[in-house]
């Protein structure tokens, strides 16, 4: 049985993933032409490299079509319902850091916290006749966060890009988006709400619980040792 490792197919995330594995004695390499999305893992018998869009890796893991995958911890939580049932988080990789945060216009001097946002949402709904709009593409994570903190009278509106612009365009009153430096937010006259971020994301190595792990114990043993992770049947048991 070949163990399939899914890795982001382009950009800085791919390079950093290659470096991370190289530091642990596993050389990942593209095979063939530079534009071909096929690859090899040197240093482990019976392992194959699959290059995929980072956003597709959670789904491929959940379906068990790849055994291991590197993607943002935010994408797994956002994409997969009940994510812990389908994948195991093996280890954070220390790069690709980004925080999912809530931001409001800087002139909302009366709003610092979720407690304030909730009160502002109630007043907004009473005045405007509709629920305060929060633009995001992270619907599941944001909804769960607001639910856990008891925020009401809001609605999520979908925004797949240029989310910070939605407030100026009057299609949302607040945004929930990924930021690493906060520069785009500041440039758009937005401020981050106080308190811990909705999620602190980073590139993470995941294992698929539903993939077939039979007859690959040698490779699993070697991977566990090299990567400093535990790859065993306990990892794949459902919580």
């Amino acid at each position: 049985m070949t163990i399939k490792l899914g890795v982001p197919s382009k950009g800085r995330l791919m390079e950093q993933t290659f470096d991370w594995f190289a530091d642990r004695g596993l050389r990942l390499a593209r095979t063939g032409a530079a534009r071909e999305y096929a690859g090899a893992v040197e240093g482990v018998e019976g392992m194959e490299l699959v290059l995929l869009s980072a956003s597709e890796i959670p789904r491929e893991l959940a379906a068990g079509r790849i055994h291991l995958g590197v993607t943002g911890s935010d994408l797994v939580r956002e994409t997969l319902p009940d994510w812990q049932a389908s994948v195991a988080e093996l280890t954070p990789m220390g790069f690709g850091h980004a925080d999912l945060i809530l931001a409001v216009p800087v002139t909302w001097v009366d709003v610092d916290t979720l407690d304030d946002l909730d009160a502002a949402a109630a007043a907004f709904r009473a005045r405007h006749g509709f629920r305060l709009r929060i633009a995001t593409k992270y619907h599941r994570l944001v909804r769960e966060h607001l639910r856990a903190h008891g925020v009401a009278d809001y609605q999520l509106v979908d925004s797949q890009g240029a989310t910070e612009g939605t407030i100026r365009n009057l299609t949302a009153e607040a945004v929930a988006d990924i930021t690493s430096t906060g520069e785009t937010l500041r440039a758009n006259h937005l401020k981050i709400l106080q308190g811990p971020p909705i999620h602190c994301s980073q590139a993470t190595l995941f294992a698929a619980k539903s993939a077939s792990w039979t007859d690959c114990s040698a490779a699993m043993g070697l991977l566990s040792q090299r990567l400093g992770v535990i790859l065993s049947s306990e990892v794949f048991a459902n919580p």
């Binding site: 319902p81 009940d82 049932a85 216009p105 800087v106 002139t107 909302w108 001097v109 009366d110 610092d112 916290t113 407690d115 304030d116 909730d118 009160a119 502002a120 109630a122 007043a123 907004f124 005045r127 405007h128 629920r131 305060l132 619907h139 599941r140 909804r143 769960e144 607001l146 639910r147 903190h149 008891g150 009401a152 009278d153 809001y154 609605q155 999520l156 407030i167 100026r168 009057l170 009153e173 006259h189 106080q194």
Partner: protein
């Protein structure tokens, strides 16, 4: 036909015998009504689809809303309705996503205690063979207690808005007692807001954008500064509210304990509870042993505002049946008109499961 469908047909027939008229709401419901009612959380729990002409639609997550709408659009009074059919909920993998509900709803004025007792006694009779544990509660007691707190209308309204979110309710109450992390955060905010006039604070912050206007922000600042000068909710009252929220005892005993608190604000609500217990006695329910939990119904029954009840088989299973009074919902959906209403639903799939386990 599955066993659950057989049970559903039988329950529906017995509800019709009890005097109900059958209603058959559409499976596809306009999403907007449900979203405005339940908030964004319902989107995570209901299947939303799109119709080219009608916009966002939902596979009905329950029957209550369409039944109320049908009644408000021209039902006789008093009215009794029964229905049976599938509802659809997004759930974790281990729970049913599509399951049957059989329900009974009573719309009637000036007979709240009798209507409450009628619904509960009917359910108790229909479910008699299954050996379930009944639970009752009363959201009206909690709202009466909050309405009776010695504080501002604004604070009472903020608490009432979160009655169905116990964790948030507790955090708010704590802040209004001047305690806890929210009180500390609020104190820091107030200090910043007192440093300069609202206009100056906003001008310093940067250019204003968005639909929430500077006027709205200034209004909230005024409200915040007023609130900062409000005395904390008295400790005695806050503690009495905590005691009330944690009360769990047989119904008659619970009533006596709450009477003994000597809390004037909840006396009318206690009178209503006593009237309901009397009506239940008349229907042959033993209120000396009937369990009462003051906080029952606070977590997932967002539109109930009076009597609430459930029938429970096992703690690892959702309630087999649940229901309650929802007078306020009829006002929200009735566009100015309202009628007192009480009802409940039974899940035949769970009953079939219980039979199978025997």
């Amino acid at each position: 036909m599955s066993r659950a469908e057989d049970i559903a047909a039988d329950l529906l027939a017995r509800m019709l015998d009890a005097g109900a008229a059958r209603v058959t709401p559409d499976i596809l419901q306009p999403a907007e009504t449900l979203l405005d009612l339940y908030g964004e959380d319902i989107r995570a729990r209901a299947y939303v689809t799109h119709d080219p002409a009608l916009g966002e639609m939902m596979l009905r997550p329950d029957f209550t809303v369409p039944v109320v709408q049908a009644h408000m659009a021209g039902g006789a009074e008093p009215a009794r309705y029964a229905y049976a059919g599938p509802v659809f909920r997004k759930q974790s993998a281990s729970r049913a996503r599509e399951y049957l509900q059989v329900g009974y709803e009573v719309f009637a004025r000036d007979m709240a205690a009798q209507a409450d007792a009628e619904v509960f006694a009917l359910f108790a009779r229909l479910l008699q063979a299954y050996g379930l544990r009944p639970v009752t509660g009363d959201m009206g007691l909690i709202t009466a207690a909050v309405a009776g707190l010695s504080t501002t209308d604004r604070r009472r309204a903020a608490l009432l808005r979160h009655v169905w979110r116990p964790k948030r309710f507790r955090a708010l109450l704590e802040r209004m007692r001047g305690q806890g992390p929210l009180a500390t955060e609020r104190a820091a905010l107030i200090e910043r807001l007192r440093a300069a006039p609202a206009e100056a604070l906003m001008a310093d912050a940067g250019p204003h954008l968005g639909l929430r206007s500077e006027e709205e922000i200034a209004e909230r600042i005024v409200a915040l500064l007023e609130d900062a000068d409000t005395a904390p909710i008295p400790e005695g009252q806050a503690q009495a509210l905590e005691v009330l929220l944690q009360l769990a005892a047989p119904a008659r005993d619970a009533l006596a304990q709450m009477r003994a608190m000597g809390w004037e604000a909840i006396t009318p609500a206690l009178d209503r509870l006593e009237a309901r217990l009397g009506a239940l006695d008349d229907k042959g329910i033993n209120t000396e042993t009937l369990p009462f939990e003051a906080s029952f119904g606070r977590t997932n029954m967002e539109y109930y505002d009076g009597f609430v009840f459930g029938f429970i088989a096992r703690d690892d299973m959702p309630p087999v049946a649940s229901g309650g009074r929802y007078d306020a919902l009829t006002a929200v959906l009735g566009q100015g008109r309202a009628i007192p209403a009480v009802g409940g639903v039974i899940r035949p799939d769970l009953l079939a499961q219980l039979e199978g386990a025997q």
